[in-house]
């Protein structure tokens, strides 16, 4: 049975423990249960009392398609509430092969303590001196780890943003192409890792047990059904591999819901220059890759490799959210500037959504001109240094907004909004308001029914049906995040009669534990309960489940829609 590894970052003691009370949990359900039970909800997120939990899902290590996502849980330095941040990469499928379900970093060393790289192997953890990679951007730092540990490196690491405990700091994970290009992006998990003076975690490439399903025959059958479901839906089999997530730039713009110029407008004139079609065309012309997966066993392959004009690799995991935040919200028109910013964010280890939005705040505050991609790059290059401007920018929208005197802050629980205006997409707007995560689109992606005609068709301009839509999606997402599945399986599952049953069948056959559709739903519900409980103890009330007032007073062009929910109606989305 996989163990939970606890590491005390002050004493350097560690123990591999039986799961005990955390049995039958994985991924986000596990991280949220641990944080809720073990972290004082009113502690400072950078203090010794906070913990960082990295957990593989219930299907981690398996050959089920798209089951290799990792969850990182903590009390967020950005929101002050509970956080689960989800990532691709190699970690999730590697951990069970080392008999690991979760890694928990506890306590913290003295302020002046040096950074360490944790090397985890069979029954042992070594704290290795990280001096040779401290202060480095993640790509060169990762190259050093590759040189030291070899080509089968499976690591996660923080960049300069995490080392300087910025609220927007990510944890970057090794991807299948040996780059630190996958991110546990939102909420500052990298700052928590940095506060505990851990620069990187390396899983021993030489230690790998075979793992298999408890009920191998049933698993094999369910696995085939599962692949058929994913390959049978046009979104997961053609739409996402064809153009990646940036195909949404034109969709959401056409729908009048693409937030432009710090959430002032629902369309931007230069949309064609930053569209998924433009990106695909540019990638093809320059010899990049228009489709690739972020973890082993992915059949959706929505990611890509973007090259510069000389045909050299610039970035991957170049996603709709990033393109929107810099290209539409901050009005940067040059797609090469945006790609360079995506790479910079991975190098410094900072959240592209929060950074794009913080750049828009800097523009709104007169620090740099609207749409100036080069100035934005220069500004963000300071994050991770002791330049006060870098320290401000690295702390996100609310902190920078306060510094620059900007009142228009599109945030919930201090986390800034993603690429859909809530006034025009109320199904995701309810999620922004009510999820424990802060303004988060993945937590309950109402865009499906509001715009994409997946899993229903509900008007996103009106209130009717959107609280229920958001709540149901939030429960489903919490369950998906706990099984290790990539959230994009939802596009196929929402339209397939046997989708949810097949996911339950896979978990039951893999683990050997009884696991029904009801158990799957309860996995999601109980995960949300843990999160809601923690936030309540942390001092959050229904007044924190609201959008900023300007969404109620400012009508969004072109549709002239406003946010018109009151805080009591919104509570209908909680479990």
């Amino acid at each position: 049975m996989p163990k939970i590894l606890r590491v005390n970052t002050r004493t350097k003691e560690y123990s591999f423990e039986e799961v005990g009370p955390y049995a039958n949990l994985g991924g986000r359900a596990l991280t949220s249960r641990v944080i809720n039970k073990e972290v004082p909800a009113d502690c400072h997120p950078l203090s010794a009392e906070n913990k960082l939990v990295i957990a593989t899902g219930l299907l981690g290590g398996s050959t089920a398609a798209n089951s290799g996502r990792i969850s990182v849980g903590t009390k967020s330095p950005l929101t002050g509430g509970i956080k689960e941040s989800n990532s691709g990469g190699l970690f999730a499928h590697k951990m069970p092969k080392m008999d690991l379900l979760a890694i928990i970093l506890e306590d913290k060393p003295a302020e002046a303590a040096p950074f360490s790289t944790l090397f985890i192997t069979d029954g042992k953890v070594e704290f290795k001196d990280a001096t040779d990679i401290v202060g480095m951007d993640t790509y060169p730092g990762h190259d050093k780890l590759l040189a030291e540990y070899g080509d089968k490196l499976c690591a996660c690491m923080i960049g300069p943003a995490g080392e300087t405990v910025r609220k927007t700091a990510t944890i970057q994970f090794t991807d299948p192409y040996k780059r630190p290009a996958r991110s546990a992006g939102r909420g500052g998990t990298g700052a928590v890792m940095g506060s505990k003076k851990i620069k990187a975690i390396v899983l021993d490439p030489e230690f790998s047990n075979k793992v298999g399903a408890v009920d191998a025959d049933t698993f094999k059958t369910a696995r085939k059904t599962w692949v058929d479901i994913l390959q049978g839906h046009p979104v997961t089999s053609q739409g996402l591999p064809g153009f990646g997530t940036s195909v949404l730039v034109n969709v959401i713009n056409e729908a009048g819901a693409l937030p432009g110029k710090n959430f002032r407008q629902g369309q931007v004139e230069h949309v064609a220059e930053i569209s998924g079609e433009k990106i695909a065309e540019t990638i093809e012309a320059r010899g990049g890759k228009t489709t690739e997966g972020c973890h082993a066993g992915c059949v959706i392959q929505c990611s890509q490799q973007y090259n510069d004009a000389d045909g050299n690799y610039v970035s991957s995991g170049f996603e709709y959210e990033t393109v929107w935040a810099f290209g539409a919200n901050a009005m940067i028109k040059d797609i090469d500037d945006i790609a360079a910013l995506d790479r910079l964010c991975d190098e410094k280890g900072m959240d592209t959504i929060e950074m794009g939005n913080t750049v828009a705040i800097a523009m709104d505050g007169g620090i740099i001109p609207w749409g100036d991609g080069k100035a934005a790059f220069e500004l963000l290059s300071k994050v991770g240094t002791d330049d006060p401007m870098g320290m401000i920018m690295g702390n996100g929208v609310v902190f920078a907004g306060g510094a620059f005197g900007v009142e228009r802050l599109p945030v919930v629980k201090n986390q800034s909004m993603p690429a859909y205006d809530p006034r025009a997409v109320k199904g995701v707007g309810v999620t922004y308001a009510t999820t424990a995560m802060g303004a988060d689109h993945t937590a309950g992606y109402g865009v499906t029914a509001n715009i994409l005609k997946v899993g229903g068709d509900i008007d996103g301009h009106k209130k009717e049906g959107n609280v229920e839509l958001s709540k149901n999606l939030q429960v489903a997402t919490a369950a998906i995040d706990s099984m290790g599945f990539c959230l994009f399986v939802a596009f196929a599952v929402l339209d397939a009669d046997n989708g949810v049953q097949t996911m339950a069948d896979l978990v039951q056959a893999w683990t050997g534990n009884s696991f029904s559709v009801d158990d799957l739903v309860n996995l999601g519900v109980n995960c949300m309960k843990d999160e809601q409980e923690f936030n309540k103890r942390a001092g959050f009330t229904k007044m924190d489940d609201k959008l900023p007032r300007f969404f109620e007073t400012d009508a969004l062009p072109p549709h002239g829609v406003v946010w018109d929910y009151d805080e009591d109606e919104l509570q209908g989305a909680k479990v």
Binding site: L248, N250, G256, L452, F491
Partner: protein
Amino acid sequence: MKIELKLFATLVQFLPENSDEYPIDQGETVQSLLGKLGIPEEDVTLYFINAARAYLESEIKDGDRVGLFPPVGGG
């Protein structure tokens, strides 16, 4: 009667030369427009008329902006 026609993603291949001023008939619907353009109905999932959600039977009028997409998703 003319419309501004926008075709996206895999539908780009069907874009006519005169898409900025595409001629339509009285009583034109999304469905009849697809027929004119030679686009199989099953290739199109999302229809927008002047940024509003539309359907196969939605009527198209003079001066409208029509946007069409295949099945797509993202995050």
